[in-house]
Symmetry: C2
């Protein structure tokens, strides 16, 4: 089995959507002045919130920065190479996991009696569940931004502890990534980097 | 800002694709006999491998189980409630992170000289990078399975250490989840569980 030529008609998702979400979408490093509306942000959330998570745990929490004041609180904590583009992006999303996601389980996973209490006594289990599932949700969010016809610029080059203290100071959250959101400027991306071929990442038994 | 009615025309992705990937897609708990082809599996990988990861790290590794023999090695390590559906699914994907993903960086992130060596000396950094980014890739994979018109049945109810020893015995991998892949049977899902409304997960500053 090789991966040379994708066979678009094997997939149910049409080729244009494949390109929009995966094949032509790129991590943007520069943005135009064109704004991103509150309606776009709400529509992205409305779409991606349906992505599945273990125990319907949904541990991702988001702070969206639009104002200059809010953004100024973030910039000093980013790796220097990430500052200019983040100052320029119309909206910046700070993505964190909620380690106390279990408090919502009686509402979002109501049939599992006692699960909230079991997790309340097991912070390690909460942490590993939150990390994996918030990771899934970061993936959904990146594709959701692209689904809105916008470019996403995800970054982990930042002082995550400092950003957590700044935007999630309650001690129950941990920042995982920051994602710039906007319309890509010309020359918004680097050369496309290679992906692992099927045979280097997948084994069929 | 509320989330009552999605506004499909706010997104670039057409409504049918939104439904296919997010809104109507469901975690399947029962599968028909209809097979999943190698071509479908290759096309899914070919699509989702373009999803972005930090440093283009791509730490996800996959073992696809199709044969009875391979599946028999997995089933005893699953939570009892996950066994029958996993025995029935045409293909089962075992998803793991490669803690030595940095060995590929000279090939997939060639401009960052010295990064492989810096990460080689920092297992904690490798572990947290692998966990977050393999999480993103699990999210991409679930959506990619749906993009093929198939149902995904992701599970974390398993003895991950035992499954790691069985399918990734080299000590450098760690299993994160197992995903059943196939065509959903009738009554393949439970009642849809509620998602957090925008205002409970997102803050706009």
């Amino acid at each position: 089995m090789t991966t040379t030529t994708p066979l678009p008609d094997v997939l149910a998702l049409d080729e244009q959507a494949q390109d929009l979400l995966f094949r032509e979408a790129r991590t943007a490093n520069a943005f135009t002045d064109e704004p991103v509306s509150d309606e776009q942000l709400a529509a992205i959330y409305d779409l991606v919130r349906w992505g599945p998570t273990a125990m319907n745990s949904q541990p991702l929490r988001v702070v969206l920065l639009r104002s200059e004041e809010a953004r100024a609180r973030l910039l000093p904590h980013l790796a220097e190479g990430n500052r200019a583009k983040t100052a320029q992006a119309p909206v910046v999303a700070v993505l964190a996991m909620d380690l106390d996601f279990h408090e919502e389980l009686p509402r979002v996973f109501p049939h599992a009696a006692g699960l909230r209490d079991r997790l309340d006594a097991d912070e390690d289990a909460r942490r590993s569940t939150a990390l994996l599932n918030a990771g899934l949700q970061v993936g959904y969010a990146i594709l959701g931004i692209r689904a809105a016809g916008l470019a996403a610029g995800p970054m982990t080059g930042l002082d995550a502890h400092a950003v957590t203290r700044e935007f999630f100071p309650d001690g129950r959250h941990q920042v995982l990534a920051v994602v710039n959101i906007g319309h890509p400027a010309e020359d918004a991306w680097m050369e496309r980097l290679p992906r692992l071929p099927f045979e280097d990442a997948v084994t069929l038994l």
